[in-house]
Each structure stands twice: as structure tokens, then as C-alpha cells.
Amino acid sequence: MSAVAATVAGSDATTRVRPGSGVLRAVLGNKKALAGAIMLLIFLVAAIAPGLFTSIRHPDTHKFAQLLPPGSGHILGTNAFGQDIWAQLVYGTRQSLFVAVVAGALASILSIIVGVSAAYLGGLGDDLLSLLTDVFLVIPAFPLIIVIAAYAGGGSMLVVIGVLVVTGWSYGARQLRAQAMSLRNRDFLESARVRGERRSYVIVFEILPTMVSLIAANFLGAALYALLTAAGLQFIGLGNSSTDSWGTMLHWAQSNEALQTGQQWWVIAPGLCIALLGASFALLNYAFDEISNPALRPVRRRKVRK
């Protein structure tokens, strides 16, 4: 188990930035994170108000001539079914983002519950929860998801989110536990108890706020995992192929030989969107990494006298 613990080395460095404004400032002050935040923002807008980006309301059912090239009134052309690829892309944002965010959030919550209670309980409870975490960490998730999705009949978004959460929480739990463990030896928690605070207060108001940046980093990691895994599932046809999402688009593109029949955009665009959204998570995460490990912060370059 200790070997596993080593993977999160560095995470026990004190969280140096306070929650709220601090995180915001850190993100704004980091170029990479800023780029990530801007990309995420654009996707968010597309998810909330797709109408801003396209005038087509129902990209699945609104049919045009088939196989139109890009331009020609369709930014990315139309596909073999006569659907406008750009419109599908825009409307696909919502579900992809939704799955990523919801599964990411639920997995993070599960991570927090398991990780923090393992650290806080200590003793046998910790041993069991840690074992559970490690087991889930090691069991290859994607094959398991495939097996579950195959049995569960794929399709339903609920099932997909469910399996993503079940398989996606363990990494975060391990990190949060390590962090909480390092907090456990920190006197401010004991100081709070000596002050006379209740247990619940200690957990919610003393422990959690100090882990904000790690929790955020975890959420982003889990969301990225959910995004990619869900897209992978949809791509191989284990998702609900009648919903608008990027993974589904890729699935259709692949099963229609899009690359070979001059519909490259049908493949490139949704993949690029997944990649960009994923990159925006990863870039934001970069900032949180730097927050929780000050050693990683960039230093200014300067000519050094020799």
C-alpha cells in the first residue's frame, strides 16, 4: 500500500492558497490555466445556449442534402444522413459536458466521502476503505465498464454515469486520503477539537476548506476521465446512439466510413472537441497542481551572471 501512496507524493504540501478568491486568482495568474478556463467557458456557453452558434434547432432530425462539403451553407458540411455536422457538434456539447461534469462531480463526492472518512476514521476502518480504494484503483476500469455496459444494455445515460462514477472515484479517494492523512497529523484539527468543536464541524469546516484545490484538481481529473471514457463507450457503440454527443457522432462517422468517403470533418470535429474540452480540464488542472505543489510554480527567467 505504501507503494501506492508514493504516487501522490507532493500532494501533502500545504495548500498555500486559500479557497475562493485565491483559486480564482491562481487560475487567472497562470497562462495555461487561463487558456483552459476560456476554452471551458466557450463550451459551457455552447452547452447552455447552443442557439448562439447555430440556427438549426434539431440537428438530428433536421435533414439536408447528404454529403455536402464544408462551406456551402454548412460550416462543416453534412454527413451521410444529411445532418449538419456543425450543428450536431454544437448540440453535442451539452451531453458530453453534462456527462463529464455530473460523473466527475459524483465521483469527486464519493472520493471525498471515502478518502476523508478513511483518513479520519483511522484504524480498521481506514484499512478497509483503503483496501477498497486500492482494489478499485487496480481493477482495470474500462474492461469492467464494457462488461457492465454490455450486460446493462448500454444506452441509458444513467448507466453510463453510474459506471463512470463507480470506476472513477478511486484515484481521487487515494489522493484525498493522503492529503487528509497529512492533515490528520496537523495540529489545527486537534486545536479545533481542543477548542471544543464538534466532529462534524471539524470535518466540514476545518478539513474540507484546506483541500479545496486538491478537490478541484480531482474533480477535473474525474471529469476528464468521464469525458474520455464516455466518448470511448459511445464510440464503440455501447452508449445511447440516439442522443447528441460527440462520442455518438464519432460512432456514426466510424460506422459510415466517414474517413474513406470524404466526410473527414465528421470524424475530426467531434474528436477535436473532446480533445479541446479534455485539454481545458487538463490545463486547468495544471494550475491546481501548481497551487498544491508550490515547487512546480514557474520561476521567472533571468540572465544569471556567470
Binding site: V4, L137, I274, G278, A295, L296
Partner: protein
């Protein structure tokens, strides 16, 4: 010794959990193995013949669940996974033996390569902090490691296979009309077929190694013992490898095993994209063919493979890091 026992214990428990999940997932879902059989031959077989088949293959057992569970554990441990429905009537184990070498070859070599390359680049990047390597690579690889495996595969196919008029093949493990054997033609063909899938895995997984290694090195460089090594007059390149590299790699080493799970996941998609005849691809065809015995056996196989890798890297870490041994 205690350490080894502990790790072995973890291995056994994890395996048991995986096996148990594997046993109960199908049983929590509608349908039963006999119906799976039926599904496989839908429309091509009459119900009477089917009943006879069920009997012939012992699919109609009505044993209590617990007994089935024990049977299952026993069979799994002895490598008896039953009969594949897709490759009827071959035993699943034979089918697995066919797919395994491909995955081991492709994913194994690529993962090790990604690890070695990534760690090396990360070491240099972290060592020459703010150097060219360090200022370009991290942002680039932050992005590449967030790419979907299958999509990278598709783009590579488009650019390097279709774009070159098939100079690099984009499907299968080798040209099926060649006769497999240890001859140059065949081996070259296998290598050619492996290039694009390997590249996809490499592109995506190397970034993680570069970044974590770089970060570890940067953190390690702040340690006093590095300064101490410099004070001792040890040449820079030796400090980089013997001190910074060696200490920074430790967390990565256990990460290596951890990440195998992710790489295996990715390789499934890569194998799917390239129709590479490995374990992951077989898993998906098992899914498509509703070949549940095969599916479950593949899952067990992958789990065991990852577990063994974890075990190996644990021992390796313990061997390299004395603190782990005693901390237990």
C-alpha cells in the same frame, strides 16, 4: 518478507473482488447463459436443437448460486473459462492464448517504451528547468494526454495510412495471406502493422510520464541532498541520473503499474480502431457477439495482467526504495 506477504495479500484480495464482480454482474442482469447461446445463433437454429446444445454444454444447470460461485472460482483458477460462443466450440482459454501475444507485444512494448522515453524526457525537462524542452513539452503533453485514444488512431489512419496510400497498414496484426513464422518478411509485416497503433498509445501515454517525471524532478531538485551532491563535487550528469533521476522515478514506478489499467483501457480502443487482434479487440468482439464466457475470461485476464504488473512494480519500488520496505 512482511512487505512481500502484504502485497501478495493485496493481490489475492483484489483478484477475488474482480472475480466476484465478474461473476455477479451477469447474474444481476436479465437473461442467462443459455439465452446468450440462443442469442448467438438467433435465426439460424431451431429451438429443439438449441435445447440439445444447452444440455451438451451444461448451460442449463440449476445449481444454487453459491455452488455456481464456487464452481466458477475453481474453474477460473484452473483456467477453465468454459466454451467460447463466438469461437464455438473452442474453449475460451485457447482463444485467449491466441490474442494474448498480440496485446503483450503491442501494449507491453509500447507502454515500456512510453515509460522509458517519457521518464527520460521528463528528467531532462525537469533538470533543465525553463529550458527549451521544459517550456515546450509540458503544455503540449498536457493536451495530448487529454486526447481520446481512438481519435488519435483515426487521425493517424487518415494522415499516415490513407494519406500515404497505405504505406502503413491500418488494420490487423499482419497480412493474413502471409504464412506466420520467424522469417523476415513476416516479422517486418508485423512491425509495420504495429507502428500506427503503437504510435497512438505512445502519443497519449507519454505525456503523463513526462509531466509527472518532470514534476518529481523539480520537487526532488529542491531537496537538500541534491545541493549536497553538488557540494560533493559530483559531476552534473551523475547527479541528474543518480540522485535526481533515481529519487524522482520512485513515485513514477508505482504510477507505472497504476497507469497500466488506463493504458489497457486505451489499448482496447486502439485495438478496436486498428482491428488489432489483441485482447482488447477480442473483448469488443466478444461484446458484439454476446460471447459472455469469453468476455468474462478476458476481463479476468486483463485484471490479472494489471495486478501482476502492479506487483512487479511494487517489488521494484521496494527494491529501489528502502523506506518502503520498512514502512510496510
Amino acid at each position: 518478507m512482511r512487505f512481500i506477504l502484504r502485497r501478495l495479500g493485496f493481490f489475492v484480495i483484489t483478484l477475488w473482488v474482480a472475480l466476484t464482480v465478474n461473476f455477479f454482474v451477469p447474474r444481476l442482469m436479465p437473461g442467462n447463459p443459455a439465452e446468450a447461446m440462443m442469442a448467438r445463433f438467433r435465426g439460424r437454429i431451431n429451438p429443439d436443437a438449441l435445447k440439445a446444445l444447452e444440455v451438451a454444454f451444461g448451460l442449463n444447470t440449476q445449481k444454487p448460486l453459491f455452488v455456481q460461485y464456487l464452481d466458477y472460482l475453481g474453474n477460473t483458477l484452473t483456467g477453465h473459462f468454459g466454451i467460447s460462443l463466438t469461437f464455438f466450440p473452442q474453449p475460451v482459454s485457447t482463444v485467449l492464448a491466441q490474442a494474448l501475444p498480440w496485446t503483450l507485444g503491442l501494449v507491453g512494448i509500447t507502454t515500456v517504451l512510453a515509460f522509458v522515453l517519457g521518464t527520460g524526457i521528463g528528467l531532462i525537462g525537469g533538470w533543465r528547468r525553463n529550458g527549451i524542452v521544459d517550456s515546450v513539452l509540458p503544455p503540449v503533453f498536457v493536451i495530448t494526454s487529454a486526447l481520446p485514444y481512438f481519435w488519435v488512431g483515426l487521425v493517424l489512419i487518415m494522415v499516415l495510412s490513407l494519406g500515404t496510400n497505405g504505406a502503413l497498414p491500418n488494420d490487423g496484426g499482419y497480412d493474413p495471406t502471409l504464412n506466420p513464422g520467424f522469417n523476415a518478411v513476416f516479422i517486418w509485416d508485423v512491425v509495420k502493422h504495429a507502428i500506427l497503433p503503437a504510435l497512438s498509445i505512445l502519443i497519449i501515454s507519454i505525456g503523463g510520464w513526462i509531466l509527472t517525471m518532470r514534476n518529481n524532478v523539480v520537487t526532488t531538485l529542491a531537496e537538500d541532498y541534491i545541493r549536497m551532491a553538488r557540494a560533493k563535487g559530483i559531476p552534473n550528469h551523475r547527479i541528474m541520473i543518480n540522485y535526481a533521476g533515481r529519487n524522482a522515478i520512485l513515485p513514477n514506478l508505482s504510477g507505472f503499474a497504476m497507469s497500466l489499467g488506463f493504458v489497457v483501457s486505451g489499448s482496447i480502443l486502439v485495438e478496436f480502431t486498428f482491428n488489432y487482434p489483441g485482447v482488447g479487440y477480442m473483448l469488443l468482439s466478444a461484446v458484439n457477439n454476446q460471447d459472455y464466457p469469453l468476455m468474462q475470461a478476458l476481463f479476468v485476464l486483463i485484471t490479472v495482467a494489471v495486478l501482476v504488473a502492479v506487483l512487479i512494480s511494487d517489488f521494484l519500488t521496494a527494491w529501489l526504495d528502502p523506506r518502503v520496505r520498512t514502512a510496510g
